[in-house]
């Protein structure tokens, strides 16, 4: 398990977050996310797509239309043909994070700005794009479906008039990295990851590394994606991951005995990271201190909850923390029968009877993919300020295993540190650890 080297107490080299941007089903900015979570207001709405009709997939965490439009408008016109709606969300979140980091941020040379992106699997080639191309090809009487299918498809694909010539660019999973670097002028060190929620942990880890090594002076970490692609949704349904949706917006019931699956979602979160000393010198307010992140595969049959707990436990130990001294745990809580059962075992193995409260954001936002871990970190400043941990929405019957799941009302307590846990659909498990920043 990889953990970051401990940063000893208040230090110029501590890595802090100085700007946060969020474009999520809950709205724009971290405050909208905090309000929805605190008020247990799910942002999950009936599934809609102009090209797809389905009764199996009932709900989704859509970014509201007007916000999606704002995202589109945040992207320079000449770049729009290269992007998809969810990469536009990333550009807006990045812009908001940079604005929040203060004016002095702009003086950092472009070559010293690092960019680390976590992106979900591309939504291209989308069924919508394919439909459009195929429809056009079918209008050609010389081609007949079923007789010469490959030919028909080739004609549909091979025609730039019906098929977006930039499809392959839009399908690349570094699409978000490219658009943000051009729109926001980043020329420094970089990386882009694709591994569901784990991608954000990888990006966070590498960003903190490059800052600590002095390879850049600021690092923007962006997580963005969308599960709204019919074939991907169908694959998730077939895997048995999705809720039947009988409870409407309250369909996602993390850790509840009556949970029946997750609700997928979309969105983007961006964090501006800096060395604490640099932030202080330019008068920026540190919002969160990043202590570390860890990510490992969890597909080996020999790996059980106690093995998986080694990662977060090591992360805590590296920073002089224990479950007893931890302020709060934000669990993943996807709401699927199996993922939550496995996570409950991990929580039990990790926390034992420490009494640290456990909450989850997922019933409010849905399963966000690459943006998920960063959404949790975006909430940390509000947790530190309010010293309260909102409950897990809709949780009525938690596992009876000693873990303190927060139910009903917010839990008042001093929160100086937050551990967030994550698992992915494809077999990765990880964690991120943050703490209240030291202020002069």
């Amino acid at each position: 398990m990889s953990t970051d080297i401990p940063t000893t107490n208040p230090s110029d080299d501590a890595i802090v977050v100085t700007g946060i941007g969020a474009v999520l089903p809950t709205g724009r900015g971290p405050q909208a996310l905090w309000s929805a979570w605190r008020e247990a207001q799910p942002a999950l709405s009936p599934y809609r797509d102009p090209y797809v009709r389905t009764r199996k997939i009932t709900h989704f965490g859509h970014v509201p239309d007007e916000l999606q439009q704002q995202s589109r408008e945040s992207v320079p016109h000449k770049l729009r043909k290269f992007g998809t709606p969810f990469t536009f969300n990333a550009v807006l979140a990045a812009q908001d994070a940079m604005d929040a980091a203060g004016e002095g941020w702009q003086s950092i040379p472009e070559e010293r700005r690092g960019l680390y992106v976590a992106q979900d699997d591309s939504t291209e080639l989308s069924a919508a794009a394919f439909h459009k191309a195929l429809d056009k090809a079918r209008s050609d009487p010389s081609a007949q479906a079923g007789v010469d299918l490959q030919r028909l498809v080739a004609e549909a694909f091979g025609n730039a008039a019906t098929f977006n010539p930039f499809t392959v660019i839009r399908a690349l999973n570094n699409n978000t990295l490219a658009l943000i670097s051009i729109a926001q002028r980043f020329r420094g060190d970089c990386a882009a990851f694709v591994q569901d929620a784990g991608a954000a942990l990888g990006a966070l880890q590498r960003a903190a590394f490059t800052l600590r090594q002095g390879l850049c002076d600021t690092a923007l970490v962006v997580g963005a994606g969308s599960f709204n692609e019919p074939l991907k949704l169908a694959a998730q349904y077939r895997a048995g991951h999705l809720s039947a949706g009988g409870r409407g917006g309250a369909a996602l019931r993390s850790f509840d005995a009556e949970r029946d699956g997750t609700v997928l979602a979309e969105g983007a979160v961006a964090l501006v990271l800096e060395r604490a000393g640099d932030a202080a010198r330019r008068g920026a307010r540190p919002l969160v201190e990043i202590l570390g992140a860890a990510l490992r595969p969890a597909v080996d049959s020999g790996i059980g909850p106690s093995t998986l707990a080694e990662g977060p436990r090591g992360l805590l130990a590296a920073h002089g923390l224990t479950p007893d001294t931890l302020g709060a745990v934000l669990a993943d809580g996807k709401g699927t029968v199996h993922h939550d059962a496995a996570e409950a075992e991990l929580l039990r193995a990790l926390l034992k009877d420490s009494g640290v409260p456990v909450a989850s954001l997922r019933p409010v936002t849905g399963t966000l993919g690459a943006a998920g871990p960063l959404a949790e970190l975006a909430l940390a400043p509000a947790l530190f300020e309010a010293d309260e941990l909102p409950p897990i929405a809709h949780l009525r019957t938690p596992p009876d295993d000693g873990t303190d799941f927060v139910m009903g009302t917010p839990r008042k307590r001093r929160i100086d540190s937050v551990l967030s846990l994550h698992s992915t659909f494809n077999g990765f498990a990880g964690a991120a650890l943050v703490q209240r920043p030291h202020t002069p």
Partner: protein, 429 residues
């Protein structure tokens, strides 16, 4: 903690061969894997040449025992095979049942876009021609569970880690044609900093399918010329007309010097530095002055505490596209301007023989760079018959050159303006 990082294992599956030894032999002999090619069932697809892996030879070599005959994406099949080779070569093979789990070995790989089968896409359409989940569900038995529909893009990292019981950190990079080099570079950093003892790094990709090749074609990336037959990939030549797509995988085991020496592992070379940058210019074109490429190379040299005048060879990105080659030349000249060092560099373009493995491209090219340093051979740049005046370096035309290579640089650049460079030097304890 800063540790030296060495290469202790190699694995490759590409058009030139199914192991790194055959690939290296082919590169040194100036053999090309590029040949006439067409998409199955489509005779007039405008792209006529590629560098595919020989499926028949692959099946013969791996049989059914390796489990590589199961349905899976091509890039996954090649990636697993190359990973197995590299781990075995390093003496770290831990395939299920073969040994105890390796604790501090991680995985960092680069891969491209999922291989979507048009038939699967078609299965999602109802009788009215609109996408319909019901239609898809009704035809679910027709869908390939190993196909792009069910494969997330991080399947390669997961698959390798699971098959070989690698329990260290696992990272899946996706930075277009710089993907493998980014994965290798970040893996190198993780070892150097003491996060892990060893990393399996590299990339795997296959774009030789209808959706991806069509997308590349519409973008104007692959050459459609038929003027030169299989001598189509003409990096730095005046008549270059686009990339020639390939498929395959290459993996390396990077390891801390301390760990390698403790195990008594054979050390091929040392990875000394890594640098990356962004152009912030255009999505589909590199910066015209090669500023991003030069920045990546300069950073890699500085990272390895290597002076430009110590470098003997550059394994160029050399795509044979009109834009890349003169711009990369300019960037090399900028970085190695001091004392006119660029005039002494042996610059080689492996893609003239391997084709362009897209997201995986940097991995076989790094293997070639490592072996160049070990063996003192710079593979040639093929088909350089009419040098472009804007490409005026020593590209080692036609035949491999035997010369001492103490330090070499390997470049990879990608769509979106992503640049990554690695520095390799001969290992001396």
């Amino acid at each position: 903690m800063t540790r030296r990082v060495v290469v202790t294992g190699l694995g490759a599956v590409c058009g030139l061969g199914l192991d790194w030894q055959t690939m290296w032999e082919g590169l040194c002999e100036g053999r090309s894997a590029i040949r006439a090619w067409q998409l199955p069932g489509i005779e007039d697809f405008p792209v006529r040449y590629a560098a595919p892996v020989d499926d028949e030879a692959f099946a013969l070599r791996h049989g059914v025992d390796d489990g590589l005959d199961r349905p899976m994406e091509r890039r996954m099949r090649f990636g697993l095979a190359a990973a197995g080779q590299a781990l075995a070569d390093a003496g770290l093979d831990t395939a299920a049942g073969a040994g105890r789990p390796v604790g501090r070995v991680g995985t960092a790989v680069g891969s491209g876009v999922p291989e979507r089968d048009p038939y699967e896409l078609l299965a999602a359409f109802g009788e009215d021609g609109r996408p319909s989940w019901q239609a898809l569900y009704a035809r679910r038995a027709e869908l390939d569970r190993a196909g792009g529909l069910f494969c997330t893009n991080d399947a390669l990292a997961t698959g390798i880690a699971a098959r070989h019981r690698l329990r260290g950190p696992a990272l899946n990079f996706s930075t277009a044609c710089a993907g493998a080099t980014h994965a290798i570079g970040h893996g190198f950093r993780m070892i150097r900093r003491g996060e892990v003892d060893a990393m399996l790094v590299g990339g795997a990709d296959s774009v030789l399918n209808l959706p991806t090749m069509t997308g590349l074609h519409l973008l104007g990336a692959p050459s459609t010329s038929e003027l030169f037959g299989d001598r189509l990939c003409r990096a730095f030549d005046r008549d270059r007309s686009g990339l020639v797509a390939a498929e395959g995988a290459a993996m390396l085991v990077l390891e801390s010097e301390e760990s390698a020496r403790r195990r008594g592992a054979e050390i091929y070379a040392e990875v000394a530095g890594f640098g990356s940058s962004l152009d912030a210019y255009q999505v589909t074109a590199p910066h015209p002055e090669g500023k991003g490429a030069a920045l990546a190379m300069s950073r890699a040299l500085a990272d390895g505490a290597v002076e430009p005048d110590e470098v003997d060879s550059v394994n160029a990105h050399g795509t044979s596209t009109p834009l890349n080659d003169p711009i990369e030349t300019r960037a090399i000249k900028d970085v190695f301007a001091g004392g006119g060092r660029y005039r002494k560099l042996a610059v080689t373009a492996n893609k003239t023989m391997l084709g362009h493995l897209i997201a995986a491209a940097g991995a076989p090219e790094l293997i070639a760079t490592v072996l160049s340093v070990r063996d003192g051979i710079v593979p040639p740049t093929l088909n350089l018959e009419n040098p472009d005046p804007a490409c005026d370096l020593d590209y080692v035309p036609d035949k491999a050159r035997h010369q001492e290579v103490s330090v070499a640089v390997s470049n990879s650049f990608g769509f979106g303006g992503l640049n990554a460079s690695l520095v390799v030097r001969g290992y001396e304890h």
